[in-house]
């Protein structure tokens, strides 16, 4: 503290002769900082309409409005955020929560108007050149306003390290590749309670998954229940739409996870594993669910096939009080699930858990009963009030190349390994196909090689028409197969099965694929006939797809069954086929060919059957 003086103050007079520090706005301008939080920008191509921005907004400044020009599709709603600058506080929480990172704040910051209605604004990135960027006259000298925004004038935008959502999922404990190729133990160990809650906590509840799920499960509800540590409540939510959680929790094709908004810039929420956690953590479904079937109506329905769609339709019908009788040729429930997915993915015990619960509701199962041979389809039609066909695709397709009859068929191979005596495998196995079944086959074959031929030099390869980027198998499957040691030969097509002198399989001659699909997108492979290679192997398994087997339906009736263009059974909105009182669902109806779509079909058909039956009475 110096001595107060009156003269020292006059030092300030020096500023009279200095240049002022004033920024002569608007003649001189200062750019806002690169991080400036101004008005919003939204890249409509990236935006999924998930609505997280509207949920996080502390001021309810964001409303989701319908955007008619956007086509809704799985993982994208036709809604876009609309901002009210009479509410917005420019905090940028919406930017930090935005899963696709489409919402950003620009460095434009002024909008002045005498009309409050102009402060409501639908941000959309528009590439505008400087000429059209200039504002209308009433904005006088300066450049921007709400209607005229520069896309390249981005300010505060999302940063992966500072997102409000957690982009990484809780890792699922798994058996290591070295260990798992030695046995058929279940590869995935399942979440513990803590892990499941942690994973469930990642969910943003935007419900994109629910729209994407064919069966429209109430995913965010059951995930919230898991988060709140109420697995029984979660199970109840699941059972509203899906009666086979133990099966689905393991092998579902996860349309939801593809749609998950977290998947855009991170890993999707492990919805399937959480479902699996729910079903595994409940010992007794009956106690947890407390579902009471409606009083019996006396109506009976025959269900052909105990696969996912058959089980589901029986479940839903039982709840409505109808008596369902399920016929299946296999010794147990699950249908294709029982034989298809290898035991390391879907153990038989899990299937039986779901089936047992369905049976406990009063559904009668007649296993080892093949319709068409053990019981006639016509009899079913006569004996029951309605018939549901959930027969699935049970016959493997063959490549029909030369000597193809020497090959094994995928389904037989899988079925024997799972519920019969395992196949004896060769040293060098070639699997034809690039789908999930091919992966299952290859990985099973690999395991069998390790089990049956320990210490020997063995090899499993796949050959697929499709190249890496078009391979129909899921990435996880491919990745896991690679980890276990399966070799891939993508973009090669089988030419012929080469036999040695003794007529044993010697290898597969392949030709290079030019393209898989024709210009119209139809499956029509073409090859470079001159590029050929020979894969050596002593065992070839064909896994190129399956087809339905309608042989049990009498030909006369078969004539009345209508099919769609894609060779699927045609059903109406009630799931009813063109045959009277015959309903259908599952792989013979839909093109997704997976369990959850089958469940969705079953739910529709159950409603249809119920409507039919109640209208009769």
């Amino acid at each position: 503290m110096g001595k107060p003086s009156i003269l020292s103050a006059f030092k300030a007079v020096k500023f009279l002769f200095q240049k002022p520090v004033t920024l002569r706005y608007p003649f001189e301008q200062k750019e806002p900082a690169p991080r400036y939080r101004g008005f919003h920008l939204n890249d409509w191509d990236k935006c999924t309409g998930c609505g997280n921005c509207a949920d996080i907004c502390p001021n309810e400044a964001i409303t989701m409005v319908e955007a008619p020009e956007v086509e809704p599709k799985p993982g994208e709603k036709n809604e876009r955020p609309q901002l009210d600058y009479g509410r917005c506080c420019f905090c940028g929480l919406c930017v930090d929560i935005c899963p696709p990172g489409s919402l950003r704040l620009s460095r434009d910051y002024f909008h002045i108007h005498f009309d409050t209605n102009t402060f409501v604004f639908l941000p959309k990135d528009e590439a505008k050149d400087e000429e059209t960027f200039l504002p209308p006259e009433e904005y006088s000298i300066l450049q921007a306003s709400l209607t005229h925004r520069r896309k390249d004038y981005e300010g505060f935008s999302s940063h992966p390290d500072f997102t409000l959502f957690e982009p990484e999922r809780v890792p699922m404990p798994q058996v290591s590749p070295e260990e798992r190729r030695l046995s058929f133990v279940e590869q995935v160990l399942g979440y513990s309670r803590e892990e499941a809650r942690r994973e469930a906590a990642r969910c943003l509840e935007c419900k994109l998954c629910e729209d994407a799920c064919p069966a429209h499960l109430k995913i965010s509800d059951y995930i919230r229940a898991i988060y709140e540590d109420r697995p029984d409540e979660a199970l109840r939510k699941i059972f509203e739409d899906n009666p086979i959680p133990a099966i689905c929790g393991r092998i579902c094709m996860r349309h939801c996870e593809t749609a998950c908004s977290l998947s855009i810039r991170g890993e999707p929420l492990a919805i399937r594993w959480l479902k699996r956690y729910t079903s595994d953590s409940i010992v007794d479904y009956r106690e947890a669910l407390e579902l009471q079937p409606a009083p019996t109506t006396g109506k009976t329905v025959a269900v052909v096939g105990a696969g996912p769609s058959g089980l589901s339709v029986a479940h839903f019908l039982a709840l409505k009080g109808h008596k369902a009788v399920v016929y299946d040729a296999l010794p147990g429930g699950g249908g294709m699930m029982r034989i298809g997915p290898p035991a390391y993915r879907l153990p038989v015990e899990s299937i039986d858990k779901d089936v047992a619960y369905t049976a406990s509701l009063g559904v009668e199962f007649r296993f080892n009963t093949k319709v068409g041979t053990d019981v006639l389809f016509e009899d079913l039609l006569n004996d029951y009030d309605a018939v549901y066909l959930g027969i699935g695709t049970t016959s493997s397709r063959s490549t029909r190349v030369k000597n193809a009859e020497k090959c094994h068929l995928a389904l037989d191979f899988l079925q024997r390994n799972k519920i019969g005596r395992p196949v004896e495998v060769g040293k060098h196995i070639i699997v034809i196909g690039g789908g999930n079944v091919a992966m299952d086959v290859a990985r099973e074959a690999l395991r069998l090689q390790h089990i049956q031929r320990p210490g020997q030099e063995t090899k499993t390869m796949t050959v697929s028409l499709e190249d890496w980027d078009e391979m129909p198998a899921t990435e996880d499957e491919i990745e896991e197969a690679k980890e276990e040691g399966v070799e891939f030969n993508p973009a090669w097509g089988p030419k012929e099965v080469v036999l040695d002198d003794s007529g044993e399989v010697k290898g597969l001659a392949c030709k290079k694929v030019k393209s898989v699909f024709d210009e119209a997108g139809r499956f029509s492979p073409s090859f470079y006939e001159d590029q050929v290679m020979l894969l050596e192997g002593d065992m070839i398994i064909e896994a190129i797809g399956q087809g339905p087997d309608f042989s049990f339906i009498p030909d006369a009736m078969m004539e009345n069954v209508e099919f769609t263009e894609r060779r699927k059974v045609k059903v109406d909105e009630d799931g009813r086929t063109t045959l009277p009182k015959v309903f259908a669902g599952g792989d013979i109806v839909n093109v997704n060919l997976d369990a959850v779509t089958a469940i969705a079909d079953a739910k529709v058909a159950a409603e249809g059957i119920d409507r039919l039956l109640s209208s009769e009475s």
Partner: protein, 309 residues
């Protein structure tokens, strides 16, 4: 006679133009010390045009009368103050002309002293009618401040009158032009007068009458529209009158209007610089200050003058 009429018209006109110019200049000078550009110099004109056209809310006849009286008083004061020129015979100064002071012969300093009090009293009258508590506080401050600077001011005037032995400003000016300026002949008075100059001008550090931050511009609190425009003009003329008086008494007036006005600007600038670097004082400090240093100096000068005579 014609010259006299021209002078009567011309001299308030000059005062008006210069006053408005001074107001503009003051804003620019202050702005520069603030390290900014400030408004254009003609900004006060814009303000006055705007205010003239604004709705004016009156609080009674007295309220309006105060404005008119204050303005009239200021304009009349101008008539008594020489605005440059000389009474010396033509030829002794180049460019010189007759003294520009319409009423130079009557009253002189004594009238000016009275008339200078007229403004504050009129405003006090008008502001009192507005019944705004801030205005009444402002008025009481204004009276106290007038009291504060009147004491040294009167002493200064007395010293000068006794030094030059006249009450005619014109006489004093021409005496200075003949011999030394007042700053040299009555230096202590000049210092004292400069010290109370901000108080007389009503600028910082003695702007406590209209302190916007304390009493919401005090007496002017209820004045708006054209009353405020007139009061702005009055304030400008008052500023001009005070500085002109200072120039006349201590800086030898001006041999012509131009030199006179240049001196006015110089003094004004000096006063503005003081105003820019000092904070506002409290009224009791103002009283104490005015009654110590300036009063002491003025008293000393008077004693010296009287003794030396």
């Amino acid at each position: 006679m014609v010259t006299r009429i021209i002078h009567i018209v011309l001299s308030p006109l000059i005062a008006l133009v210069v006053a408005v110019f001074l107001l503009g200049l003051s804003r620019i000078v202050i702005a520069r010390i603030h390290r900014r550009y400030g408004p254009p110099i003609y900004q006060p004109i814009i303000d006055i045009i705007r205010l003239m056209n604004q709705q004016s809310i009156s609080h009674g006849t007295l309220f309006e009368l105060g404005v008119v009286l204050a303005l009239a008083g200021s304009i009349v004061t101008v008539l008594f103050i020489p605005l440059g020129g000389t009474n010396a015979p033509p030829g002794s100064y180049p460019l010189a002309h007759g003294l520009l002071c319409p009423l130079s012969s009557s009253g002189g300093l004594l009238v000016v002293i009275y008339l200078m009090l007229f403004g504050p009293v009129s405003i006090a009258l008008g502001a009192g009618a507005s019944e705004n508590p801030n205005a009444s506080i402002g008025v009481s401050r204004k009276m106290l401040l007038a009291l504060a600077y009147e004491v040294p001011f009167l002493l200064v005037i007395l010293a000068i009158m006794s030094h030059y032995g006249t009450i005619s400003i014109a006489e004093i000016v021409s005496r200075q032009q003949d011999s030394a300026w007042g700053v040299f002949s009555v230096p202590l008075s000049a210092v004292a007068a400069f010290l109370i100059l901000p108080a007389m001008l009503g600028i910082r550090p003695f702007d406590l009458v209209g302190a916007p931050q304390e009493i919401a511009s005090g007496p002017l609190a209820e004045y708006g529209g054209r009353y405020l425009a007139l009061l702005t003009i009055q304030n400008g003329i008052q500023v001009f009158v005070v500085i002109a008086l200072f120039v006349n008494l201590f800086l030898g007036g001006g041999v012509n209007v131009i030199t006179f006005l240049l001196k006015v600007f110089a003094v004004f600038l000096a006063a503005e610089l003081v105003s820019a670097v000092l904070p506002r004082v409290r009224i009791e400090n103002a009283l104490r200050f005015c009654w110590t240093w300036p009063t002491g100096l003025a008293l000393a000068q008077m004693i010296i003058t009287v003794v030396s005579r």
